[in-house]
Subunit: 236 residues, 2 copies
Amino acid sequence: MLFRQLFDSESSTYTYLLADLTTREAVLIDPVLEQVERDTRLLEELGLKLVVVMETHVHADHVTGAGQLRERMGARVMASAKGAPCVDRQLKHGDVVRVGQLELRVLETPGHTDDSLSFLCDGRLFTGDALLVRGTGRTDFQNGDPGQLYDSITRELFVLPDATEVFPAHDYAGFTSSSVGEEKRHNPRLAGRTRDDFVHFMKSRQIPPPRKLDVAVPANRACGLTAPADSQSPSA
Amino acid sequence: MLFRQLFDSESSTYTYLLADLTTREAVLIDPVLEQVERDTRLLEELGLKLVVVMETHVHADHVTGAGQLRERMGARVMASAKGAPCVDRQLKHGDVVRVGQLELRVLETPGHTDDSLSFLCDGRLFTGDALLVRGTGRTDFQNGDPGQLYDSITRELFVLPDATEVFPAHDYAGFTSSSVGEEKRHNPRLAGRTRDDFVHFMKSRQIPPPRKLDVAVPANRACGLTAPADSQSPSA
């Protein structure tokens, strides 16, 4: 199995490439539009066929590369049934996505957004914006809900083995990964905090909305592709 | 064994943490001064004792955290005999640094600077600024030499097994790692290029010096610590 973590410095987004080195089939999790050239070249150099793109959620801080990767490479785009309508397969809790011999198990982990998913593959947990290294996603837009996020993390993620590696969709402090055990013990929003503590803390935060919110969310509901010309010109 | 890649976004520097989970002894490769708090906290949270700091070379783009980590945690600082005079152990080709059960083998890979080392540990190769993902370090200061860099990469690094993972000291395009086989085949400065091609290319580049060159190099020769007061006041 090949595993590669990629970073978009403009949005501090991590994209993950996983591939079965026998069948050469690959999956990208949370690709970024501005990095499609980089990612396409990397796939070509590695001799991989991109068959699946998986989104942890409809992102508000960057535009996805999913639609372009589908057009260029024929990949099937997958995300939550509660998320973008543009996808080829709607995922729900307990689903397993097979890419060659790889199996990615789908966990519904809403709270950052109502469509947030995490993916578990061979001891690696891709948490999107639900669980970050020493942090969590925010819960103040896109139907976010702090109580729901607390439940998702504690009931779905923190029940996994402590050694499970945690790979988030973002980091802003230079961490690339963590583990379930480490976050249970040291995540300052969760360790030793009750659900009520967490909800109170999240509701008391005053932070500006993501810079790209108004652009990214509608774009990502179309898998990052520009809407067709006729839908841009309602008078036509 | 624990392995963790850390990033300093201001200088695009990767720092590496390796630890023996039995003895809890740890080594940091190329720590950054501004990240000493982050790294110290991480070591504490993980219950690790930092016993060694290793530098791949005297850096020109950031100030090292080595001296502060030595003062705070008692770590021994190690680097090339041709590098900073402040170190506790001077390393040369073929040396092995033991940290618990971990063994880090020292490879002299000069050319980016004359003191550049790479370290090999359990299939992971830490290449400093000698070999980057799809690139190399520059060779136009600190006794850099493009012919020497070509020889270092092709004779010391590219002779390792193709599956050896490559972890550079920097990346500017969002790559976190590569492999020896991948760089042999796809590094645009090296794949299909002769030594003369490489030397010509490196000598023809016109790029400004690192922003921190004049500050970082003298600071790093003192392991990132401010010179003692009396040496700052020669008249005292």
